[in-house]
């Protein structure tokens, strides 16, 4: 047997890799829904990453989920960009949700250009959050969005139909929004295990 080697010495040499989880700061980007914040690893949206919202139908539940975050961002003077939304945002309702419309911008673009515009917005780093509605996109397009969000340290939200839940996705967070019953299911969250139980949607009977 060789000489006795102290355990501390071995660790100090850094030849042994320890699977210590990276301490993530909590609560950087709270969602504004206490029940959801409690189960998400970072205490909110993953900052500088793509979050995917998988909707049961078009125009079903994404605003209810996002409005508190958008209101918080616009109140602190961060710009929120909607890239080619499928519907017209109805301003009185957005105002009532607390969103400061001065910081809300709308980009009209065709389906192909919308991805480009979303990537530009994310990459520029001048926006607080970018919402987009990618239709029938592949893995690569989503990865581009994810990389752009990391580059610009911007919150990216992609609203997609729930059929896409079966396909793998590079998004850091995937939330399925169900209507019957009204609940959120976290399908994937980076930095932690996805909670098994759905979260009841607050404020919607």
């Amino acid at each position: 047997m060789g000489a006795v080697v102290s355990l501390d010495g071995l660790l100090d040499e850094r030849r042994v890799w320890k699977g210590r989880p990276l301490a993530q700061p909590r609560g950087l980007q709270p969602t504004g829904h206490a029940a959801l914040d409690a189960v998400l690893p970072g205490g909110g949206w993953p900052p500088g990453a793509l979050s995917e919202l998988l909707l049961a139908a078009e125009g079903a539940g994404e605003l209810h989920l996002l409005w508190p975050s958008l209101a918080r961002l616009t109140a602190s003077g961060e710009r929120v960009v909607l890239v080619a939304p499928p519907f017209i945002p109805y301003p009185p309702a957005w105002l009532a949700a607390g969103v400061d419309l001065r910081w809300l911008s709308l980009i009209q673009a065709s389906r192909v250009e919308a991805l480009w515009a979303a990537e530009q917005c994310l990459r520029s780093g001048s926006c607080g959050a970018v919402l987009c509605w990618p239709q029938q996109v592949d893995d690569r397009a989503l990865r581009r969005l994810q990389v752009a969000a990391e580059t610009g340290q911007t919150l990216a939200f992609a609203c997609r139909p729930q059929q896409a839940a079966l396909n793998p996705s590079p998004a850091a967070l995937r939330i399925a929004v169900d209507l019957h019953p009204a609940q959120w299911r976290v399908l994937k969250c980076r930095g932690g295990l996805a909670p098994a139980t759905p979260i009841a949607m607050a404020g919607r009977g």
């Binding site: 139908a57 079903a60 945002p89 009185p92 309702a93 419309l101 520029s124």
Partner: protein, 472 residues
């Protein structure tokens, strides 16, 4: 104030010589009508052949054969003077082209930046030398004295009015810019230099000569100020680049475009201004030029950004014919107000401001592609999100029942099966005054899938509910 006078004694000749690769070869400038061609100016090599300015062309051809003749072009000389004024403008804010072949510039206020006068003068001489212009430089305490002293001196530097007066006193009377008859009369009186003229009593001088003589002498001594028209940089930018070949693709246009825009940016920087709108004219061999308008929401002057924007517009265009030359015209040159940036930015990767991003998006997607969302005080949903008649946008939410976050562009008929009415009716009746009369009963409905919608039925009509929005 101290005025520097840069006298360019051979501006016309130099303007031709600087464009030639063999300035040492004999060359003469010609002017006059076709019947009587006269040598306007000759370069040293031509003078060595015995040619003199003022000779007729036939005499010159009798004396020598191997010289080049170039037509005198006053327009080119004028253009060169403007170029010189623009060049001098970088050293002083007061530049005047009052005298022909002369650039006057006020330098005392520039000495702090460009060093003491000997250094400054050396720099002027060096840059004039690079431009290929022969010159004489004189510094004096007023512009008229500087100009007249340049007639006889080169490199003279007089820092105050006293020294200027002393130097002027030595000047012969026919070299100080007096009217010819006055100068002749003075010399016939036996007065050789200005000192002797100034020794005369003022009233006798005023009696014997025209008033303009006294005025000129006073200006020369700085006793009477002279209003000079100062050079102002033009309010318009125009540049044209001739391509040596027919260009059919965008890619090949990018290189000349980059050069034009670099010129534009340099021009804007010298004006301390920005550009809000410029036009690229793509000129074809025949037919009208294709204009490409690049409009910005705010004034900009950064070359890289202007290039990106112009490129975005250019890429959308399909060229109708090969391009022969590109012209860039910028008329709208407002003041440039830089966007304030934050010193401690919350986000480290903030490479590009929102304004730049917006221009980039507009350049590719179209001018109307980036919109703000505004609320207007109108009960009709279709009027609440777009300005109907210049109404000011709302800043606070109007109270009342909940409204849907999404609005459909066109109302859709809802199938009545399985539809649940959750709330309603709420009547919206408005717009009788502007022709868009609306009388509807609105309901909050839930579809079988669980979506909440906002639907209406026109008042007094049966039939299906019309879906107008989603409570998402």
């Amino acid at each position: 104030m101290l005025w520097a006078c840069i006298l360019l004694p051979q501006l016309a000749l130099d303007s031709v010589l600087r464009g030639r690769d063999d300035p040492q070869a004999p060359l003469v400038l010609l002017s006059g009508p076709a019947q009587r061609r006269v040598l306007q100016a000759v370069n040293p090599a031509a003078r060595a052949l015995g040619l003199r300015a003022g000779q007729s062309l036939s005499t010159a051809q009798a004396l020598a054969s191997s010289f080049t003749c170039v037509e005198h072009d006053p327009a080119a000389v004028e253009q060169l003077q403007q170029l010189l004024a623009a060049w001098a403008y970088q050293f002083s804010s007061q530049v005047s082209l009052h005298y022909p072949r002369t650039v006057l510039l006020e330098v005392e206020s520039s000495l702090g930046l460009f060093g003491p006068w000997p250094l400054f003068e050396a720099r002027l001489r060096k840059e004039l030398g690079e431009l290929g212009l022969r010159h004489r430089i004189v510094l004096a305490s007023n512009p008229v004295a500087a100009r007249m002293l340049a007639n006889a001196h080169d490199g003279l530097a007089l820092n105050d009015a006293q020294a200027t007066r002393a130097a002027l006193a030595q000047m012969p009377v026919d070299r100080i810019g007096l009217p010819v008859e006055a100068a002749t009369a003075l010399s016939r009186m036996g007065l050789r230099d200005l000192g002797q003229v100034l020794g005369l009593p003022r009233d006798t001088l005023a009696r014997r000569f025209a008033a303009s003589v006294q005025v000129h002498l006073d200006r020369l001594l700085g006793l009477r100020p002279m209003a000079l028209a100062c050079y102002r940089p033009p309010d318009r930018f125009e540049a044209r680049l001739e391509l040596n070949f027919d260009v059919e693709s965008h890619q090949a246009l990018l290189f000349p475009l980059r050069r034009l825009i670099a010129d534009l940016a340099a021009f804007l920087a010298s004006r301390d201004g920005g550009v809000q709108r410029f036009t690229l004219h793509l000129e074809h061999a025949r037919g009208v030029a294709t204009p490409v308008v690049v409009g910005l929401l705010a004034a900009e002057r950064e070359a890289g950004m202007l290039f990106e924007l112009a490129r975005g517009r250019l890429e959308q265009l399909s060229l109708p014919a090969p391009v022969r030359s590109v012209r860039l015209v910028a008329d709208d040159l407002p003041a440039f107000v830089p966007q304030p940036g934050e010193l401690f930015n919350a986000r480290p990767q903030q490479q590009q401001g929102w304004e730049q991003l917006r221009e980039r998006l507009r350049a590719r997607l179209g001018d109307e592609s980036v919109r703000a969302v505004q609320a207007f005080a109108d009960h009709r949903p279709e009027c609440a999100w777009q300005a109907a008649g210049g109404a000011p946008p709302l800043a606070r939410a109007p109270g009342g029942p909940p409204r849907p976050g999404w609005l459909l562009a066109e109302p859709q008929a809802l199938a009545p099966e399985g539809l649940r009415l959750l709330a309603g009716p709420e009547r919206i009746e408005s717009g009788w005054w502007d022709g868009g009369d609306v009388r509807r009963d609105y309901y909050l409905v839930e579809t079988p899938a669980g979506q909440r919608g906002w639907a209406y039925r026109p008042l007094g009509e049966g039939g299906p509910l019309w879906l107008q929005g989603w409570f998402a």
